[in-house]
Symmetry: C2
Subunit: 344 residues, 2 copies
DNA sequence: TTGTACGCGTTATCAA
DNA sequence: TTGATAACGCGTACAA
């Protein structure tokens, strides 16, 4: 009596098949499925038995059509290969799954145009909300975000526009703290490897924090101490090489990603400089590799998983029209001091 | 005349709205959209104009319901935070997008049970095929894969079961080559850091390659030279520490991932051993960090993007019932020799 | 407490 | 070349 039932042909079972097997009407099956109306206990059991035997599952498209609500969350990411984003992604998927949403993944390859196209695309595919994970937010985004016809949450970045929901750390404060730490060690000439120039937002905030810290210590801001990198290992190595080639005298170097710091470490070593004895080194993100470097890297930890979870939760809340306390969420960062900036 | 048209309420426009604006029937609009039946050129233009003005896009759920075909590809991954998988993911998304498929992402967190559940879940959500990216394939998978009711491609692993479609490198051959390289440098005592014990497949193949190479050189296989790691930096460090603590004499160390090699490098350094002078070191995968280590790491390059692209293409072909040459695809690997195994 | 009938937006079939 | 109609599988008024 517990045997599975196969339909004659091998089409997937519908709610009608279940009804027939259970000896009830389709609406009753629907009620059991969704726990809506009243259903006698014995009936419920019969229906559930039938569902099990047929291995029935509601057809998602039919359900979505009827309810006008795909339970899909779009996720547009500028670089699938950044380990940082991988951890954010994990958080997104976790929350989305828990709330019954699927995650539709798209890769913008860092191209602004593509990002905007994909926003359209995921909407067409029935996503009720989207997350945008990009390392280069531009003002041009705002218009598209607003007219996209669905809530779009910017994960891992803060922008001024009050209409754009954002989740991320306080970049200025984080950079400020890290600089203070370096200053406290007595460093006065601090090199900086910022992110790409076409990302005015995140790097801009961090630079602001750096400037503030220097100012607080009565030190001048020197544009010549800043080089640009693309957040990658190679980018960091090349930026550090440019800094060294220019003959910039520095006793400390702050890279805006752990990976760039890793690259910089390599460049410094090759130049015969020891870390931290000759040059102190710091990164940003606290990736696993930060602890794996020799010496282990001082850095700013971001709650990557939480950024993902909060972003997804916010996007879903907005999509479902739930009340939301704030659309700008700042998650806590943490300064992690390791040997790469140890006093000597 | 080119102005956008807004509907009174703000529901999304349907094919009927387009028909009304264009002064034709819904069927005609459908024909224009799908390029099926015959349509007079002037009519087509009117319809296209209406589509543009209404910013109309077909409702995906309605379309799927009618056509019984969601254009969705499931992607179940065991560890979203492995950089290696990130690159594979990128390839998957690229091909899926190009072929009109969305990618539905799920995270199994490396748990077998969860993987099987998610396989059900993505099917319920209307995926026509799925990819499974896992570092621990178990025989238990086979049954579920077969009864899941959709094609499932195993990306980045090869299993013996002839029914299971797989895409990946020839792990045995790759490990063999790397060992040959070490042997050619005169190494006779070679430590190995394998992957997790609960992954019999990938690590098993690589071990087989190692054994074969040693055998070819007339050297014995010594189980004591093998330690287990979980593919992570920390895992590699701890495995190397265990090896050293056991007093294993080795002049070379082969880790089955670049990240474990990075961890091992740290452990060796801390033990006062120089790489490559005292111990040669090699990894697997050729992640960006391999080149960024000091010294740069000898490793096996896998075509990560291609693995993703081929897997996705294969899954979609199977889903659409297209003819497929082979369901077992071996993609080429490449030995990359860098300073970490330089002769001295 | 349960069943009947309708419509969600689309495409395919058929008749005009 | 075009239009009317039915059906995909589900949830929900409304009637029983």
């Amino acid at each position: 009596m517990n045997a599975l039932i196969g339909l004659g042909d091998n089409r997937r079972p519908t709610i009608r098949d279940v009804a027939k097997v259970a000896g009830v009407s389709p609406s009753t099956v629907s009620r059991v499925l969704n726990g809506r109306g009243p259903v006698r206990e014995s009936t419920r059991r019969q229906v559930e038995e039938a569902i099990r035997r047929l291995r029935y599952a509601p057809h998602p498209a039919a359900r979505d059509l009827r309810l006008k609500s795909g339970h899909l969350l779009g996720l547009i990411i500028s670089n699938l290969t950044f380990p940082f984003f991988g951890e954010v992604l994990k958080g997104v998927v976790e929350t989305a799954t828990a709330r019954g949403y699927g995650v539709l993944l798209a890769d913008s390859e860092g191209r602004l145009r593509r990002e905007l196209e994909l926003l359209e695309e995921v909407r067409r595919r029935g996503c009720r909300a989207s997350l945008l994970i990009t390392s280069a937010y531009r003002p041009e985004h705002a218009l598209v975000l607003r007219r996209s016809g669905m809530p779009v949450v910017l994960a891992s970045a803060h922008v001024a526009d009050p209409e754009v929901p954002c989740v991320g750390v306080d970049n200025a404060a984080a950079a400020f703290e890290l600089m203070q730490h370096l200053l406290a060690q007595g460093h006065r000439r601090i090199g900086i490897i910022r992110g790409p120039l076409d990302d005015p937002v995140t790097s801009g905030e961090r630079l602001k924090g750096c400037r503030l810290a220097l100012q607080g210590a009565g030190l001048p801001w020197d544009e010549a101490m800043v080089e640009e990198g693309d957040f990658s290992i190679r980018g960091g190595r090349e930026a550090a090489e440019r800094l060294l080639a220019r003959g910039v005298a520095m006793t400390a170097l702050f890279a805006f990603s752990d990976e760039m710091a890793m690259g910089a470490l390599q460049a410094l070593r090759r130049a015969g400089l020891r870390v931290p004895e000759d040059v102190a080194l710091a990164g940003f993100d606290d990736l696993p590799l930060a602890e794996g470097l020799e010496p282990p890297l001082t850095t700013i930890a971001q709650p990557k998983g939480e950024i993902g979870r909060v972003s997804a939760g916010l996007a879903i809340d907005l999509a479902e029209g739930r009340p939301v306390q704030r659309i700008k969420v700042t998650v806590p960062h943490r300064l992690i001091v390791r040997r790469s900036t140890a006093a000597h």
